[in-house]
Amino acid sequence: MTDNHTPHFLKRLKGIALSSNERLMMRERLAAYADMHPTLDATASGTSIFTFFASRRFSLYAGALMAFLVVSSGVTFAAEGSVPGDHLYAIKVNVNEPVMTVFSPTATGQAKVAAEIATRRADEAVVLASRGKLTNEHREYLTKEFETRLKIATRKTDELTQAGKSVEAATVKAMLAANIAGEAQALGAVDDEGNEGQRAFLRVLVAVNEHIEGDDIDAATAVTIAVSAQADEDTSATSEEPVTLMAKSANATTSVEAQRPKKTQFIRLRFASTTLPVRLNTQLNTGRILVPKTDVAIPDAKEPADTTFTGIDH
């Protein structure tokens, strides 16, 4: 073989390429990404993401995006559990989250999504901390992103209030407060072994939660309960029976029956028309609440399943 053929031989490496399907799917994702992040000229002239929602292009893309999500859900779904440092994390924040925004075109939906994305940053800190990987780099990134997303969520709920949708705004704020309180509790439950970064992030969450709580929200409508599902290792038959949680506020009393959980899950308490998430955390050995302004019933795991509990433990 002469040396003229060596470059020709190397050209065989052109066989390493995206498949037709991969090319098409990536193209669709990138086209959607470009639409969700318009040029700065377009943004300045008012052709914002919200103008896009009203346009014909959006209706065309909504169908394409929906089809794309169904087809490519493997990658985007797998990205949902990723945290900073994972190679799919870029998909989560640059593709999945913009798609969440696109598919929530109403003002209330936008506020909820903004609150959800802020919560996701806090949750990622909890996951990293539980793995012992909440480095200073990750903490700084997540703190900055969390505070940025929180500002966006706050602005959107303020816009809801200004638009006369104060009930919706209060609901979103209460949900955000409850979620952040839950994340703070989960982060606090991680054995940090002197990790100052973890404590620093926890202080951010607690401070934010207190700020939201003090922001003209009826605290009685925002409650996060963390209770122990099982204090004993003896898993008797009663541990499978449902428990009753009761919550009292100044103007409402509500209760809910739920299966005694074996692992962390959310149980919702409804105050009038507001539904709030309540997390049960099996890592705790005592019931604990994070919003002490509300009288909340805490179940003692050793009590019989049909007991109605009262009292506060915080």
Binding site: T6, N21, M26, A31
Partner: protein, 168 residues
């Protein structure tokens, strides 16, 4: 340029260079799914440059530069898997396009020849002879002089020729 024109330019760049960037990433990270994710991230960052109105003199060089930076970040976090492992574990070069067995064998043979080159030489060779970049373009990506790139390419080419038993 308005949003539609910029997006059209962006997708044209994608159509032209997506495979080159993907291949570049594969030869660096040796994992197809990771290479696909990196390729997408490269294009997204390229879009961010376009949307901000950044003056881009050489689109292709910018794409490769972004890819190199992302791969450097990836290396910091992940352990490198060798090209040996790629060929041994039956790495899929062509996704689901059902290339012929002969075509797949040819790719494997080419990979086997270049795997012993140092990373920089391998990169220079593939950019030059697979992706068709000029030494000047490669120099821009590497932050070197065109002369240094040419010397490296010639040396790497000689090593490949030796492996292929080329006679002067």
């Amino acid at each position: 340029m308005d949003q539609d024109e910029t997006k059209e330019q962006f997708l044209a760049v994608y159509d032209q260079y997506a495979d080159d960037i993907f291949r570049f990433c594969v030869l660096k990270v040796s994992r197809r799914p990771v290479a696909e994710d990196l390729t997408q991230e490269v294009l997204m960052r390229f879009w961010q440059q376009l949307r901000q109105g950044t003056e881009i003199g050489n689109e292709r060089a910018l794409l490769y530069t972004i890819a190199r930076n992302l791969i450097t970040d990836w290396y910091r976090k992940k352990k490198e898997q060798s090209l040996d492992a790629m060929t041994d574990e039956g790495f899929e070069f062509a996704g689901d396009d059902h290339r012929t067995i002969e075509e797949q064998a040819q790719v494997r043979e080419a990979l086997d020849v270049i795997k012993d080159l140092d990373d920089t030489s391998r990169e220079a060779l593939t950019l030059r002879f697979v992706d068709g970049l000029s030494p000047k373009d490669i120099a821009e990506i590497h932050g070197e002089t065109a002369n240094a790139v040419s010397v490296r390419i010639n040396r790497a080419l000689k090593k490949v020729q030796e492996r292929l038993h080329v006679h002067d």
